[in-house]
Symmetry: D2
Subunit: 285 residues, 4 copies
């Protein structure tokens, strides 16, 4: 059943496997007249690229994006925009040992049960490398959001049980840090935790925090396409994500209504933001 698309008006379809000819995305519903170049997308892909520090997995890929359609003379035309990132460092021989085993914590077993066969080379379609197409598509989505003055920033708030102080730190520099953590002291401890785990042939979990600013009131649709429901689905569709919280999230379950509701004074001017800016599935601005 088709399931490689996300979105209704702006719809992203991704394709590609870890060790096939390439990965890519088709973005449909992009407004005409936006300025778009391969460089704009490439910048985000470069930030994603593994192998740039000792803290990342070691595959070295240039990950060069090519725009196949939908852009003419530097402007989007309203036609679907297809992006292709060809695989180059696809040393599938490294994975030959996986042909006959199912890695724990991976989709290998489930994929085999569902489809009766699988592309075992590096996880195939279920490889973390699938996110390269998301990053490329996201660079384009950001272009659309920026045209509406909406800015989305994400940072790493926790790794290996070490929590960053995300409230008081300055997020603007986090993008430059290899761990994307705005709290330098916590980042140093996280680095150590990762290195220790690496030495032991182990790995550590983490939490990311995302903020959107400039979001106008009124986004999100009752009942089933609530803004939190759509965001949650998008995030849970990323491999290895096992939880999502909006605003104060599970902490709200331990709070009284009197202290968890965001009071307005006057209407529209919220004094707190326990609800993550979403009430009844609609953004409150």
């Amino acid at each position: 059943m088709s399931s490689n698309s996300f979105g209704t008006l702006f719809r992203v379809t991704t394709f590609g496997e870890s060790h096939g000819p390439g990965l890519g995305a088709v973005m449909d519903g992009v407004p005409a007249g936006l300025s778009l170049s391969e460089e704009h997308i490439q910048k985000d892909l470069d930030l994603r690229r593994p192998g740039r520090s000792s803290l990342h997995s070691q595959r070295a890929e240039p990950d060069k994006v090519k725009i196949l359609s939908g852009v003419y003379d530097g402007l989007t035309t309203g036609a679907p925009i297809a992006l292709l990132i060809e695989n180059q460092d696809a040393r599938s021989d490294d994975y030959k040992s996986l042909q006959d085993i199912f890695r724990p914590g991976h989709a290998d077993y489930c994929w085999q049960e569902k489809f009766g066969l699988r592309d075992w080379r590096g996880g195939g379609r279920s490889s973390g490398r699938e996110t390269v197409a998301r990053v490329a598509a996201g660079a384009l989505a950001r272009l659309v959001l920026e045209a509406a003055n909406i800015k989305v920033t994400g940072i790493v708030s926790e790794i290996g049980g070490i929590k960053a102080d995300t409230g008081s730190s300055d997020w603007s520099q986090a993008r430059e840090h290899p761990l994307r953590c705005p709290d330098e002291q916590a980042a140093a401890e996280m680095k150590a935790a990762i290195e220790t785990a690496q030495k032991n042939g182990d790995s550590v979990g983490g939490v990311i925090e995302v903020r959107a600013s400039g979001v106008p009131a009124g986004l999100g649709e009752p009942v089933f396409d609530k803004l939190d429901a759509r965001l949650g689905a998008a995030i849970l569709s990323i491999g290895a994500v096992k939880g999502v919280e909006i605003g104060d999230g599970f902490a709200l379950a331990r709070t009284k209504g009197s202290s968890s509701n965001d009071l307005m004074d006057p209407p529209g001017n919220f004094r707190t933001n326990h609800a993550g800016g979403i009430l009844g599935g609609i953004s409150n601005g």
Copy 2:
């Protein structure tokens, strides 16, 4: 924009407001030949009905369901099944004071901003009463799942910061308890916490836990329609839900890969279930 439907092959569309003529649901894609009566759905609605104990909100509604289509001679026909629950205890006068104010923690303000007007009677479409249509639709969904030997059970695991011992307690009786909590001692403390909050004109948050058994391996579709992504979206679309965890959820972020991966021995026989039975978005059975 249309957003009152959920699902692709089995699609639920709900409608109705807290104080309008009624609420209902249209279920499309229900297989033909299932035995279905109004009584089957009514049982679940009776369990949902508020006003049955001092612990619930006090609206007294019989909430009688009527099947409008899709069933003939006691069997589903493959045609869409429409359900209607007429409103009876719709004392909208009680809410007249809401006409000019926006309740904190409710969708009142967002709805006004989005649509330019709102049905202020008891929250209108964004009332918690919207879930009556979900419960009716769920009773039907359960029928389809049962035909496939899949059983879904949910209980209350936490209220007002009081956590139930959900692992060792027997869930089968929880349905009969007014708080749906299988741990009797915790349930008694929860009851006290609710009553205290009620006395102070306040409310408390909570957490529910849901288990599905009999799920075959292979459910869920990579990439965007992963089983956890779809479940997460469904749950986050319920008003007031602010977080979702799959398996061990956020606890996994504080765990090493070596102890969070579910080992198989032999393949298909998982020794643990930290991942909530879903790997790469596909159920593992």
Copy 3:
């Protein structure tokens, strides 16, 4: 598989059988703030109602529509609008003879093959009575179109091989004529043809012609949601429709490009309309 909905932003879901409790529709995506009453919809239902002249099938139904949701204080609220038309003249006994036979030219046999059982009472879901929900939904769609100054008019252009002169006749009065044909002389011949067929226990086919005015340039989406593709699908989804033509339709297949292309002078001012106002799937205004 779900298939009782049509549309993306404005989505109609219909339900109900010829001899069940009732038929209805849920309209999702209707803008908030439109003035809507049951009377507005009832007017169209009254025009559809059979049994008003000797030329129609003889079932007598008041077909009273009830709005169940989505309207408050005379205005649409942005919530889904559910409509219900209860069946009253459902003499299913008249159809008992159909229980064991498959009527030729009806869906009886196909439905049985597809679903393994069927509601044989008057065709059940595949009855022509299904269109009562479309007419009600259409009355609401017209309201949305009128707010955008788009006017859609349909007339009968051919019955039993008798063609009306639709080009020169005045369409504005056709709505009042029992046969909806604007050419009075042709209408008289059509009436005779129908009466002759009725006497012989037979029926006759026909053609309808629909014009939309006020359509702005730019409606319709390349590639698969071309305006003609979506209109064609909608019309072919009506039972018994077996052909659709846009503009000059099949006549264009017998014409040279030089005389079938609609020249503009100046751009935007089309001198002819062989293409039915749609080029490349997009309206040309």
Copy 4:
């Protein structure tokens, strides 16, 4: 708004412009385990290729297809299959004169009105060359249909007003004929008509006829996804198509019910096929 996808379970998304880097398609929902090679798709592309005889438009393109994903070891894996056909003979200079004019009968004007700008090179996205992606996708769809023993054949039945005798002629050889017409005498006349029009700088219209065999009873979904509605939408989404008929089509409008209904004797054994094998939107086998 996204509109470059078609289908629900098996969904095709196409992209690309006449003179951009390339055209392609992503096929989602293809079952795992089908044998698929680039050669299989290439064969259909070769049949489509223009410039092979004096009767076609003169662009010479090798149109080599490349499979980018979804196939491993010669078998489909259940992952989306992306196809790319790079443009080579993209002499956009030939079209420079189009930059400032709107060709009659083309989407140029509508696209400009809708999007505010356009890729004028050879029609851009609205070029007839868009069908190269459909042909490639169709080759894959045929593979799925063949696995279910369904065979679809299309021929040219009319060009420039010259009708072929499609009923008695043998369709199996039509694929080899440059005009795909099974009636050799009519084909010769069609060829002459095309050549005459070409000499006069003109073009001629035509009609194609498509038959599907091996279709089991039960395909197609009431109400809005009737088999004829979906087929009609697919065909009308092809540029320049202005009409669709199912079975006897418009001829049925001039026929009495007594001679247009397909009688069964016994049930399931239809003596005629005026309805095109579809009753109530469901195939009758």
